[in-house]
């Protein structure tokens, strides 16, 4: 083992640091602009230097850098330390744009990728349906080709950001007679189309981050399909390989854990900081065992990927989601206990925002509930256990529909 990066990459790190020192935060007149304008301006400068949207061709608004995972890691660390904005997050840039890069038509790429990367075009994802959650291929919302348009009828659910999104990328059954996984197509839908109704779903937190979306006789142009008819399943899978960066991020665990230690420092037990209480110290130290395991396991997976040896780390890769959402539940559970009576008070709206997260008791209460939601979203824990059991340990598959 050798955890040093070597001269070439240390030089790259210094270069990035120097850039950040000079450009973020913005100076002079630029610093007077509205925050979103500042971010935009900074992102343009970072783009010119090749620091953002590195995987996207210049033609589509990216900076087209040769893939280099270590440089990406360094950029990530340094931008984070400086609090500087990097690639816009969210499913548009992270999922839709790479999918179009792989499977979209040239016209679709030019039309959709640049505004998505700039943040001018916002997306929601239409996969889940009331009868198709874990068993996504059971979806039944239909799109029928009718002349030069698709006619859509159906019902999507758990659609985050549907209220504010400009477009939806979604899966619809286009060949009703084909077997389950076949017969599904990947469509891009203007959310302002006639016949779309968005109804917010109120969550247990009181907030409404996701929605139901109803389609009745919605018409969209025939060229809204990505990839070929009936191959939507394959198109949606092409995005999965881009998802690895989004899940099981160990820094998220470490940051949350650090906030937990701070909370224990601020909270009182028997008139002393809770951090001095031996049962609290024991629980904290045990949770840190999980956090460290995921942190180092992540580094191990990263190293293996650098060498093209992902197969050697397949088992821990399959475990990332279950392991980290479980660790996050442990973190927020201890926080909830440390809050004592303050855990009885429901969070207020601002405490859901990223900025206030884990800094107020309401933020922790919200996070305690969200940690459970995260164990469900993107493949519930029992689905993860099936994947680990079947693909990782070679156990027999569950009975499945044909």
């Amino acid at each position: 083992m050798d955890l040093r990066l070597g001269e070439k990459y240390e030089a790259f790190r210094s270069e990035v640091r120097a850039f950040l020192r000079e450009h973020w935060p913005l100076r002079g007149a630029d610093a007077q602009l509205a925050p979103e304008r500042q971010e935009k301006l900074f992102r343009e400068r970072a783009l010119a230097r090749g620091y953002v949207y590195r995987g996207f061709p210049r033609l589509y608004g990216g900076s087209e850098q040769a893939p280099d995972a270590l440089e990406d890691m360094i950029l990530d660390q340094e931008f984070r330390t400086a609090g500087a904005p990097r690639d816009i997050r969210g499913i548009g840039p992270a999922m839709l744009a790479p999918t179009l890069l792989d499977c979209g038509s040239e016209e679709q790429r030019i039309r959709f990728i640049p505004p998505t990367l700039r943040g001018d075009l916002r997306w929601c994802q239409g996969y889940s349906e009331p009868g198709a959650g874990s068993d996504l291929a059971a979806l039944s919302s239909r799109a029928v080709l009718d002349g030069d348009s698709w006619r859509i009828d159906g019902h999507k659910i758990w659609t985050s950001e549907a209220q504010s999104a400009d477009y939806m990328f979604g899966l619809f059954r286009t060949e009703p007679d084909a077997p389950k996984h076949a017969g599904i197509s990947y469509l891009l839908i203007d959310m302002r189309s006639k016949g779309i109704e968005v109804r917010p779903l109120r969550q247990m937190t009181g907030g409404a981050d996701f929605n139901e979306v109803f389609f009745s006789d919605v018409r969209i142009p025939a060229d809204s399909i990505v990839g070929r008819r009936g191959e939507g399943w394959k198109v949606s899978r092409s995005t999965l390989k881009h998802e690895r960066n989004l899940i099981g991020d160990p820094r998220y665990l470490r940051n949350s854990f650090d906030s937990l230690v701070e909370l224990a420092r601020r909270s009182q037990r028997n008139g002393r900081p809770a951090l001095e209480d031996s049962s609290v110290r024991q629980r904290l130290a045990e949770i840190e065992g999980y956090v460290c395991s995921q942190e180092y396991s992540g580094q191990r997976q990263f190293s293996a990927a650098l060498r093209g040896q992902e197969l050697a780390t397949l088992l821990p890769i399959l475990m990332n989601k279950l392991y980290s959402t479980d660790a996050m539940q442990r973190i927020t559970r201890l926080a909830f206990d440390l809050l004592g009576g303050d855990g009885l008070v429901a969070p207020v709206a601002e405490e859901y925002g990223m900025a206030s997260q884990l800094r107020t008791s309401g933020g922790w209460v919200a996070q305690y509930m969200f940690a459970i939601a995260n164990s469900i979203a993107g493949g519930a824990s029992n689905i993860q256990r099936n994947i680990i059991g079947e693909r990782g340990l070679g156990l027999p598959r569950d009975p499945r529909a044909k």
């Binding site: 083992m1 904290l284 065992g289 180092y296 060498r307 256990r385 059991g389 156990l395």
Partner: protein, 359 residues
């Protein structure tokens, strides 16, 4: 940057796995377990020939001059095989002499330890809770030591004891000294039996570095125990996968039932990511001095805790047969009980890691 093993390290593990499979097959392991002697001269000789007894002894003294991570990787395989023998204590004595011995002590002991001709072990605890250097009480007067040590692994076969002395330092005591007497304790792990050692004015030679050396040796021990526990727990998982994959109930193999599949997935998920935890702890011991003490404490506490969870699941998934003497699960279960309790329980090391973090 590479958070991974070298080809040499993988070959070392492979060679040792082959050795264990050939030299200590299930029937032989069972014989040694039932005899509870904890030592087999031919196994020991084989380990010497493989070069693993002198793995961390400097080359100048006849060893392979490798690092703690290499030793931890060896310990993982030993745990997997539940290989009986005084390996753990032997390695810690070698490390202590190599890092804090005088030139004379190194010259006298290291070549013999590396070749396996002399067997070493550690005599640290004086009661159930006293593993830390600050709690050693054995008194040294001049070059004589008196005190009472317990839970000394492999004492019956050892030639050289590494003894914790009042003030936290370490000293070497030879088994053949008239002031040394040994009484077996009925150890729970029959692959690594333990004894009480009475020292009544036995001749001793101090090592340099005082409590600092003792902590250094302790940290190495924590990494080795974590690795052994990881190996033992992964073996239990393997045994349990094989059993539940063939055992039928209600007309299906057990693994066809989601309750069983999910329990196995949970056991694996608790365990597998901890591999990187003890790798890191051993690497930190070798290369990142500022983090080594804390990393070792976290690794020992966490790995042995998770390993025992796996052991519990292994017994439960075997059903009644899992609780019998006849079932091999007990061999590794007890190996894990040793790994968890030796050098201190998770609680002790969690409190230390909290203190070291400045909490």
């Amino acid at each position: 940057m590479n958070f991974g093993l070298s080809d040499e390290q993988e070959l070392l593990q492979e060679a040792l796995r082959g050795f264990c499979a050939n030299e200590c097959p299930p029937n032989r392991l069972r014989e040694l377990f039932d005899a509870a002697s904890g030592h087999d001269a031919s196994l020991w000789k084989g380990l010497a020939e493989l070069g693993v007894l002198g793995l961390i002894v400097p080359e100048a003294y006849g060893g392979a001059g490798l690092e703690l991570l290499d030793l931890a990787l060896v310990a993982e395989v030993m745990g997997q095989a539940a290989l009986p023998g005084p390996f753990l204590g032997h390695q810690l004595v070698s490390l202590a002499v190599a890092s804090a011995g005088s030139e004379e002590q190194k010259r006298v002991w290291l070549p013999r330890l590396a070749s396996g001709e002399a067997i070493g072990t550690v005599a640290l605890a004086e009661d159930a809770a006293a593993w830390e250097p600050e709690s050693f009480r054995a008194q040294v007067q001049g070059n004589r030591i008196s005190g009472s040590k317990c839970f000394v692994p492999g004492a019956a076969d050892a030639d050289l004891f590494l003894v914790g002395v009042a003030g936290g330092g370490l000293a070497l005591v030879e088994r053949k000294d008239a002031g040394v007497s040994i009484a077996d304790q009925n150890g729970v792990d029959r692959t690594r039996p333990i004894s009480r050692v009475e020292l009544s004015g036995a001749r001793c030679e101090p090592l340099s570095g005082g409590a600092q050396t003792a902590r250094h040796v302790r940290d190495a021990g924590l990494c080795v125990l974590a690795a052994d526990a990881f190996g033992a727990a992964s073996k239990l998982l393997q045994i349990t996968l094989a059993y539940t994959g063939t055992r039928q109930q209600f007309g299906s193999v057990l693994t066809q039932f989601q309750a069983v599949k999910h329990q196995l997935a949970n056991m694996a998920t608790e365990l597998e990511p901890t591999r990187a935890l003890w790798w890191y702890a051993a690497h930190a011991f070798d290369q990142i001095a500022s983090e080594s003490e804390r990393a070792a404490a976290i690794a020992k506490a966490h790995v042995t805790d998770r390993a025992l969870d796996v052991a519990r699941g292994a017994v439960e998934l075997h059903g009644g047969i899992g609780f019998t003497w006849e079932c091999d699960v007990q061999i590794w279960f007890k190996r894990l009980m040793f790994d968890r309790a030796f050098l201190g329980n998770p609680e002790l090391h969690r409190e230390r890691s909290a203190r070291l973090a400045g909490w």
